[in-house]
Symmetry: C2
Subunit: 239 residues, 2 copies
């Protein structure tokens, strides 16, 4: 097996281990060290759970805490330290993997590690199935057709900008809606889009919840962290 | 093996067979009939080539022509006929697969078949790696970070709308640039974006071409059909 000393950034898809690619699995099976991200210091790594059946007994695992906070200084400090450790491992001849939920290039912390190491070590990035394409597929709810442009928008963006994008595009994916989901839902109700939208939490994970009726969501006190709304104005659920 | 009579819409990714998911492979291995799309009546099916090592000897293959033309009547007529045939196969107890390059829900003809059969037969859609996430990963060129919205735009869209989207977004994917690539490139040069953009043709296929310098592309007489430009204003290639 060609086992080059480099960093592999590996997309592991949204949750279902069957949504791993052959390339991701082959890479996990050949690396020397696996870095797994932890969102909280006590928690479990969601992405590690997805690949659990492919982890060899002798694979060295380094669970590292990537803080999910608004404190940018503590984030930068964590990225700096993890990047230095990865560069040291690769320079000592090891092949290193860093797994990423969904796709590593779409709203993933992986990019901040990539940018810190790319000038010093070789890096190979392997794409993964994104949560929003899986939500679209598993609900038979098309994302975009023909000439339609598609906008992917984190709900942490300014609400006026979100409103403009929703008005201008026919197909929209709203990521990370958990924090301000009531504001987002009010906007969709106001624009009359509830019959053109679905919401899914924890797509393809064991605790997946599909909401076909957004009014039901509005009644909730809180929703899971991994919640995504997809809107397609050309698709009418009620038909 | 649970071999239910239904239609499976299967995303096969951009070209490299290693970018197939386990779920796609398991599905291809269990179906009774496989429909493969042909872009021209004489041509070869690109998506069939990707899955060739998983095609059983006894798998019934139905190659069907999906016209790539501006004549919408002939397209509709083809979609109608193929949909009727698929519904007949499923109603006679067969499990049927229809493969789709990239992801079946993003700019794929699959959606037109889905819409014609969904009220009559059971359908399960399986997502695939999209060409643009693969281009981003294989070039270590991040697509979108943090609060950045991402726009996916077919270059067949109105050029004024394309211009507005490029101005308003930091991250943009331009799909299907082959036809009007000079107009698109002139727009990128005018907006000073050439150092924030890359172009890839036939991503992950045997005949893949990566263009890091868009001036080189502009000198060409024509470019391949599957050509995609990704732009990230926060990434500077020249650094």
């Amino acid at each position: 097996m060609n086992n080059k000393a480099k960093l592999y950034g590996i997309g592991v898809g949204p949750g279902d281990p069957e949504l791993l690619t052959i390339k991701a699995i082959k890479t996990i099976e050949k690396i020397d060290i696996l870095y797994t991200p932890l969102a909280s210091e006590k928690g479990e790594s969601t992405s590690k759970k997805i690949i659990s059946e492919y982890i060899r007994q002798d694979l060295e695992i380094k669970e590292r805490h990537f803080p999910m906070t608004n404190d940018i200084e503590s984030k930068i400090s964590a990225w700096d330290l993890i990047s230095i450790e990865i560069m040291e491992d690769v320079k000592s001849g090891k092949s290193v993997g860093l797994i990423s939920l969904g796709d590593p290039m779409i709203y993933s912390t992986y990019v901040y590690i990539l940018q810190r190491v790319i000038d010093s070590i070789e890096v190979e990035t392997i794409p993964g199935i994104t949560s929003f394409t899986n939500i679209s597929s598993s609900n038979n709810f098309p994302l975009s057709m023909d000439k339609e442009a598609l906008a992917i928008v984190p709900s942490t963006e300014n609400i006026h900008r979100i409103r403009n994008i929703i008005k201008e595009f026919d197909s929209i994916v709203l990521m990370k809606v958990y924090k301000n989901f009531k504001v987002i839902l009010e906007l969709l109700f106001e624009l009359g889009l509830e019959k053109h939208a679905i919401m899914v939490s924890n797509s393809s994970m064991e605790n997946e919840i599909k909401y076909k009726n957004l009014n039901t969501v509005y009644e909730l006190d809180s929703i899971p962290y991994f919640s995504t709304i997809i809107i397609n104005k050309k698709i009418d659920k009620s038909i």
